[in-house]
Amino acid sequence: MDIKELLREVLLKDKTFIHLPFGDGKYDIYESVVVMWIIMAIILVVLLILTRDFKVHNISKRQAAIESFVVWIRKIIGGSLGEKGERYTDYIVSVLLFLGAANMIGLLGFIPPTMDINVTAALALMSITLVEVAAIREKGPVGWLKGFAKPMAIVLPMNIMELAIRPLSLCMRLFGNIIGATVIMELIKMVLPVVLPVPFCLYFDIFDGLIQAYVFVFLTSLYINEAVE
């Protein structure tokens, strides 16, 4: 199998998972959505196990760990969101945890949903919606519209373009990184299927996945922080 075939297989593979009998494939549910359901189910179960019987006193180590984790991650995300954007912390943390899980789901043998551009596009759409909603809530519709002409009227087209560029870059960055990692992993497996993939797998599936999740979330919170300033 040469590289061309490999790329074709990775990039153009039929990703339909549930084929609906109507609409001529237009309403097919992709594998990424199904994997996302699996991730959601895993997260739900893990959360239910981790957060059961929380107490105020005499807490278990598990509860202490969960509490300090939540406080810690909220501090990090809330710090980059700024004071005014702090109310969006919980959504951002949710996205971060989901992306972390999604990028690492490859460890369990699933195809990461973030390898599907539809998922990253949806995430980016949510992010940009949140950014603009935050701006409108903070400044009012008029103030939001006026914000496009700041600091000077000449930057107006750029700011309008940014509305499209930001989500596009978010979406493509995440998608490209994950698919790139997968392609490289496939290539490494072609070179030597034993031993060699282990450190790279550790890097691409765990480290890189977490970094990309953090980058996505960090940029989103940065945009929100900028929007509400």
């Binding site: 990775v10 990039l11 153009l12 593979k13 990703k15 237009k26 309403y27 097919d28 549910i29 992709y30 990424s32 959505v33 996302m36 359901w37 959601m40 997260i43 739900l44 959360l47 239910l48 957060t51 929380f54 107490k55 105020v56 807490i59 509860q63 969960i66 509490e67 939540v70 406080v71 919980d90 959504y91 943390v93 949710s94 996205v95 945890l97 989901f98 949903p113 390898m115 599907d116 551009i117 539809n118 998922v119 596009a121 949806a122 995430l123 759409l125 949510m126 698919i179």
Partner: protein, 158 residues
């Protein structure tokens, strides 16, 4: 992998919202509840501690006032006692003075009486001597010489 599918994007968005609700309900709300309860308890404890401290301070103040009152009372009593002591002292000293004066007066009186008596005795002796001298003079033949001797003798004897 590269074509967009609106249905799937919507599915993912719905999934994300559900996921957010899952996180909110089963992670953040539970953690927040515990944290809030703990915070309330801490606040409650702090308030109780503040009240207790205030109470203790009030009691301390009260006792300090009481002690100050006691001090005053003590001073008063001490002053009273001192005054009494002074009065007593004065009285005793006065008594002693009076007694002393009386004794002195009596002594003076006694001395005068004694003096008078001594004078009387002297006078009597003098009279006797004069009579004696006169009788001696009368009994002896006398010249100027004798008279002089006699006078000298008399004066010497006197």
């Amino acid at each position: 992998m590269l074509e967009f599918s609106l249905v799937n994007i919507i599915c993912v968005i719905v999934n994300l919202l559900i996921l957010y609700l899952i996180f909110k309900k089963f992670l953040f709300e539970r953690v927040d509840k515990v944290l809030m309860q703990r915070k309330e308890e801490v606040d409650e404890a702090t308030r109780a501690a503040d009240i207790a401290t205030q109470k203790a301070l009030d009691t301390k103040k009260e006792y300090e006032e009481k002690i100050a009152l006691a001090d005053e009372e003590k001073e008063q009593i001490l002053a009273d006692i001192k005054k009494q002591g002074y009065d007593e002292y004065e009285r005793i000293v006065n008594d002693a003075k009076k007694k002393g004066e009386q004794i002195i007066t009596e002594a003076k009186h006694n001395a005068e009486v004694e003096n008078e008596r001594a004078k009387e005795i002297y006078a009597a002796q003098l009279t006797d001597m004069v009579i004696d001298a006169a009788s001696k003079i009368a009994a002896t033949k006398h010249s100027t010489q004798d008279d002089r001797e006699l006078y000298d003798k008399f004066i010497n004897e006197a």
